[in-house]
Amino acid sequence: MLATIAMTTGFLLILIGLYGALSNRNILRMIVAFTVANTGVNLVLVAVGYMNGRTAPILNDAVAAGEAISRIIDPVPQALVLTAIVIGVGITALMLAYTYKLYQTRGSLDIAKHTELKW
């Protein structure tokens, strides 16, 4: 149940992000929309790793090392999402830097004013 809720939220965030990225003309708004979609993807990935009635993949007094196999959720998607978050920050920073350069050359953040690659 929890996994389904998280997964639905994640897919909704992806759709909202795509809608925002495709319907806005302002580049900064598109970047924000992309980060929303990125968060949605991460949420879906983490939700796939969730298993009912299990706990976080950290061994301590509550989860002894011996019974870890039957008590913890899948740690692999979590490691993957950690990587994805960090790379997502890098991508966002790159998009912002390029946007700044575009603004410098054209004086506008409207995507319709940047026509070099239009077809």
């Binding site: 976080a56 061994l59 960090v86």
Partner: protein
């Protein structure tokens, strides 16, 4: 109008695909083969309480090296892209309003605490939820606070580069020591595994994660500094 219609059609199609995925999703009851191996062998082989850390730093350590390299490339490209126009003027065109008393005093109070917390998070990555990437991001948030309280503050790019390069080099050297003294590249058993659950345990993981934390903190800081230096144009 036709654009909006196509967009809605696209989103409805994607939504239908997603709905199908959710409806047919059945959560696993058992760990899959890879995850079961990690769950069963981490405590014994790696000695780290946090299994996610064991995967990131040791089992898939090479991928983490690649990830750190991608971050380095990003920071380098941002520095390259943003540095070109900057030499023209050093003085801001408009006068910036002074930062508020609360922000300035709060920064002075919070800055050491945030740095300490960041160091805590990356040195305890093998025991608690956390690690190098999270700790590095916390350290970079301290830099962000400094930049917020004084947008014209300039950091030494040289210092950031030295920290970043030195910790990246140390990461690779520890990995190479793993080939010489233990099972392979980035093997954490070049140091004794120690008592499970203590700070000095899990072999080289705390050291590797401290270097990763410094490197990520320096990279994020360099991005923030590059972006903030565009402000005076």
């Amino acid at each position: 109008m036709i654009k909006r219609f196509t967009l809605m059609l696209l989103l409805a199609g994607l939504g239908a695909i997603f709905a199908g995925l959710i409806q047919n999703y059945v959560a696993d009851e058992e760990l899959n083969l890879t995850a079961a191996y990690y769950a069963a062998h981490t405590a014994e082989d790696i000695g780290a309480a946090n299994i996610v850390t064991a995967i990131i730093v040791t089992y898939r350590g090479l991928d983490t090296l690649g990830e750190v390299t991608v971050l380095f490339l990003t920071a380098a490209i941002i520095g390259l892209v943003l540095s070109q126009g900057n030499r023209q003027q050093q003085q801001p065109q408009r006068k910036l309003p002074p930062a508020g008393e609360l922000l300035v005093t709060g920064t002075r109070l919070l800055l050491p605490l945030i740095l300490l917390f960041g160091a805590y998070v990356f040195t305890h990555g093998h025991l608690t939820p956390g690690g190098g990437f999270q700790g590095g991001a916390i350290i970079a948030s301290a830099m962000l606070l400094l930049l917020l309280s004084n947008p014209m503050k300039r950091f030494s790019h040289r210092l950031i580069t030295v920290v970043e390069s030195a910790s990246g080099l140390a990461f690779v050297i520890i990995g190479l020591l793993g080939i010489a003294w233990a099972g392979g590249f980035l093997d954490n058993r070049i140091l004794p595994i120690g008592t499970f659950g203590e700070l000095f345990s899990a072999g080289a993981i705390p050291i590797i994660y401290a270097f990763v934390g410094l490197k990520v903190g320096a990279e994020f800081s360099s991005m923030l500094v590059s972006l903030s230096e565009t402000e005076d144009l």
